[in-house]
Amino acid sequence: MLRRYVAKRLLIAIPSLLIASLIVFTLPRLIPGDAVQLMLAEKAYAKDIEELRVKLGLDRPIYVQYFEWAGRAVRGDLGESLWTRRPVMEEIGQRLPVTLLLAVLALTFALAIAIPVGVISAARHDTLADFVARSTAILGLSVPGFWLATLLIVLPAIWWGWRPVGDFVEFSRDPWAHLRQMLLPAAILGIAASAALMRLTRGMLLEVLRQDYVRTAWAKGLAESAVVLKHGLRNGIIPVVTLLGTQLPQIIGGTVVIETVFGLPGMSRFLFDAINQRDYPVIQGVNLLVVSTVVMVNLMVDALYAVLDPRIRY
């Protein structure tokens, strides 16, 4: 049953992925002609305009270009960077672990804050704790991450002479220090997501706690923890899982800013540099990878639905 559902979702995901790949592919083709000349003059990417056109694949009919690009992309060949002249896949492979660790830590952080606070906020709703939690959540959604990061770098340095940003430590050199330097950026990255997740957890749990079976659970004399966590949370958590799927693109987008502020050599910073250098094969490659990941994660979120809620039958 589940397998059939996943297969069906996969069939729907394919057109989305195809359209997304078309968008990714079209981007450099939107550059006005003189931008190619600009790239030539500024960066000396090639000897002449014709050579650069060939490099960017702009010299053949558009559909031929697309199928060739997509065909190579499926086989893991994303072309080579105009700037470093190395395969894009290789360049991404080096930087992906940093971004991935950052995103996973941020999501973990977000969940670790959001679920307990959301549960307390719902179980004690309309109390002072609830009010504080909700206001803090809206504040968390309002504060720009890059500003918070800047403050956390500046203020401790001025007050106590402590600087969180040092030289980047590779995982292979010192795994513990590698992880430690990620904690603060990940926490900042997770704040907005945790605020959104907390609000939804609270809202859903409040709805579930009004159900008849929850009243029955209370009437049976179950402990509060059993009522709220077993009868309430398990039934209220499903939309939270969906939101987790939609938060992922936000978090990946946020890594662009956070990696730049903290000087982490991740994939998003690589993309940002590529954008500044108009390194189109890299921009296309990173975008394609990110979009495919997001589509796949959303597919997994859908499958997780059935596991979490046995009532859902496809």
């Binding site: 504060v143 720009p144 890059f146 500003w147 730049t260 998003s268 993309l271």
Partner: protein, 307 residues
């Protein structure tokens, strides 16, 4: 806009007010406003912040003691004082004046983007729901694809192609927000189409245009207003992030996000006030729109709670 409707009469009044001001005359507005403030103090606080922001943006010349690009002799990187409330920056410019003028940039980008996004989103959402079929399927797959891009990444990529500038920021942000909002509007339209008066209108021989304009659009107005208010906060936040990364509104225009990048970061250890105040301004502005949007959602459309 500022009405409350927790009671059924309130809802009727609010809906009437949204549909052309009927039901609210003279001082009734003030009463409704007072009621809103009592029931939703945080929403009212948000409203006050938003109004203050609008005033700052509209009357920047009168409020700011200096021009946003005016250098003041002998006042380089001075800490906050009576003469310069928020201090001065590395180019001897008054920070308070720059923050005030910054409101104008944020508000302009915010409102233009949202106006454009609302038009796109309503056109996409309503037509997708109303005509359905192959059109709906096609449009929704496009929206799916668009939604799977992290917003900052797609916008940076688009800005790389278009080049920085206020107009380009507005267009790329509007298209992105329109995709998200069109989903909600499609849902609201599908809901509105269930009503029998739509069926009656069709039975009477009304054309598509008349059904959409006279019967469907008025019923999704509340949804659109809520989406716009919350969207404004998101746009201001996104614009600041873009300007921070150097892809937003170019200097010397005082964008809050731009003030935090470049010199704001270079001198942040020596003149921390340069990095503090623009961020406070962004947070307050977004906080205000979020609070107001939340309260409006509770009042105007309880179904959207938790979305």
């Amino acid at each position: 806009m500022n009405t409350r409707a927790e009671s059924p009469e309130g809802l009727v009044q609010a809906t009437a007010a949204l549909q052309g001001g009927r039901g609210f005359r003279g001082w009734a507005w003030l009463v409704a406003l007072g009621r809103f403030a009592r029931r939703k103090p945080l929403g009212a606080l948000g409203g006050v912040i938003v109004v203050a922001l609008l005033v700052m943006a509209a009357f920047a010349e009168q409020i700011a003691p200096y021009g946003y690009d005016q250098t003041i002799r002998g006042a380089r990187m001075k800490p906050p004082s009576a003469a310069h409330w928020l201090g001065t920056d590395n180019l001897s410019r008054d920070m308070w004046s720059r923050v005030v003028y910054g409101a104008r940039v944020s508000i302009t980008v915010g409102f233009l983007t949202i106006a454009l996004a609302v038009v796109f989103a309503t056109a996409i959402g309503v037509s997708s729901a109303y005509f359905g079929g192959a059109w709906d399927l096609l449009v929704q797959r496009l929206v799916d694809a668009w939604l799977s891009f992290p917003y900052l990444i797609i916008i940076l990529s688009v800005m790389a192609v278009l080049g920085p500038g206020l107009g380009n920021v507005v267009i790329s942000l509007a298209v992105l927000i329109a995709a998200t909002n069109s989903r909600v509007i499609r849902g609201a339209t599908l809901g509105a189409m269930q009503h029998t008066y739509v069926e009656a209108a069709r039975a009477m021989g009304c054309g598509h245009t008349r059904i959409i304009v006279r019967h469907l659009l008025p019923n999704i107005t509340a949804t659109v207003i809520i989406l716009a208010t919350i969207g404004l906060g998101a746009v201001i936040l996104a614009e600041s992030a873009l300007s921070f990364l150097g892809f937003g509104v170019p200097p010397p225009h005082p964008s809050w996000g731009g003030m935090l990048s470049g010199s704001g970061r270079t001198y942040m250890f020596r003149a921390p006030w340069m990095a503090v105040w623009p961020g406070v301004a962004i947070s307050l502005a977004v906080f205000g729109f979020n609070m107001l949007g939340d309260a409006l959602r509770d009042v105007l459309d309880p179904r959207l709670r938790g979305s």
